[in-house]
């Protein structure tokens, strides 16, 4: 009459459909329907409780709620304790410990393997570095020797050049005054050099001309 279906289908957790044949449950009067004629002028008597009774009821309920709260908390704690100490938990702990030991053993073996490899690698590296160092030392020694030889050559060269010492100075001055050096020269486009400041081209015959040498 009010528009709901007669039968319902129940879905259970593993999704199998079970048909329910129970009666339709009356929940409430539909919202749009009018008030029944027998109930239009009805005034329901309000239930009056004396104050002390209300207080007593409140006291009872408060005490009950308090005790229920504490009882629930106590049950919860007990369940936690039981979970920790129960057989299932113990077995779990044992299995976990075994697993831990196995993994630690595995880790140790792996570490050993890698340690051996590492040692070999380090040995090889050490040898290489040793060889490198030796080679570089030898090289440096050789270079030092070369350097020494070069320095000696240079020194001998310098010593062999005719420096003017304190004894030679007067002779050197006389020589210099006696042999003046003229740096003036001119070049020809044909590649001939004419030395001296005041030499003119006409005075020198063709055969005696100098050729400019690139020294």
């Amino acid at each position: 009459m009010f528009g709901s279906s007669g039968s319902r289908v129940l879905n259970v957790i593993n999704i199998s459909y079970i048909q329910s044949r129970s009666k339709r449950v009356w929940v409430r009067k539909p919202l749009g329907s009018p008030m029944a004629k027998s109930k239009i002028f009805r005034i329901t008597p309000k239930p009056v409780l004396p104050e002390d009774e209300k207080a007593e009821i409140k006291r009872l309920f408060d005490n009950y709620k308090n005790s229920m709260k504490s009882i629930r908390h106590y049950f919860f704690e007990q369940s936690l304790k039981q979970a920790e100490s129960g057989e299932v938990a113990q077995m779990k702990h044992r299995l976990e410990d075994q697993e831990h030991e196995r993994l630690m053993e595995e880790n140790r073996l792996e570490n050993e393997k890698t340690a051996m490899l590492r040692e070999e690698r380090l040995k090889i590296q050490a040898e290489k570095t040793q060889q490198n160092v030796l080679a570089s030392l030898i090289k440096k020694e050789g270079e030092a020797k070369l350097h020494k030889i070069q320095i000696e050559d240079f020194l001998t060269k310098q010593m062999s050049t005719p420096f003017i010492q304190a004894e030679n100075i007067e002779k050197a001055i006389e020589d210099a005054l006696a042999n003046p050096v003229n740096f003036n020269f001119a070049l020809d486009l044909n590649g001939y050099v004419y030395r001296g400041k005041d030499t003119s081209i006409d005075t020198i015959p063709e055969e005696k001309r100098e050729r400019l040498n690139s020294n």
Binding site: V9, L10, S22, R72, F75, F76, Q78, S79
Partner: protein
């Protein structure tokens, strides 16, 4: 077609309740004390049955109640709520403190005069039916 809330995959937590499920026949109720999700109907899927309550007194004038205290304790520890009748029964059994309703009902019963009965009172282990409310 009405789909039950517990059948769809819910990711919100639905609270669990310990309450009475009416079984039995017409004019002969028999209640199972049962752990269910709040959203489920009375005749819907049940997580666990935790006792029974026969509302009709037997020929020795007893109303028989069965309660599995261990499992009730477990479900209370997991946060299940109690419906009023179940709380009253547990209080009367001694597992929990007495529900205020039992006490209130008791003093109201003592106040009112006994009403006229059509059926004769059964004599047996329990005291005779003086009290109108029982």
């Amino acid at each position: 077609m009405i789909i039950m809330a517990s059948a769809l995959p819910t990711f919100t937590k639905i609270a669990k309740v310990i309450r009475l499920n009416r079984h039995g026949c017409t004019n002969r109720p028999f209640y199972h004390i049962v752990v269910q999700k709040t959203k489920d109907n009375q005749d819907g899927p049940v997580i666990e049955q935790v006792g029974s309550f026969d509302a009709m007194p037997n020929n020795k004038n007893e109303k028989l109640v069965a309660l599995n205290f261990e499992r009730i304790q477990y479900w209370l520890s997991q946060g299940a709520k109690l419906s009023d009748p179940v709380a009253q029964l547990l209080g009367l059994s001694g597992f929990l403190p007495n529900h205020p309703r039992t006490i209130i009902q008791a003093w109201k019963n003592r106040r009112e005069p006994p009403r006229e009965r059509k059926i004769e009172a059964i004599k047996g282990i329990a005291p005779p039916l003086d009290n109108p409310k029982l």
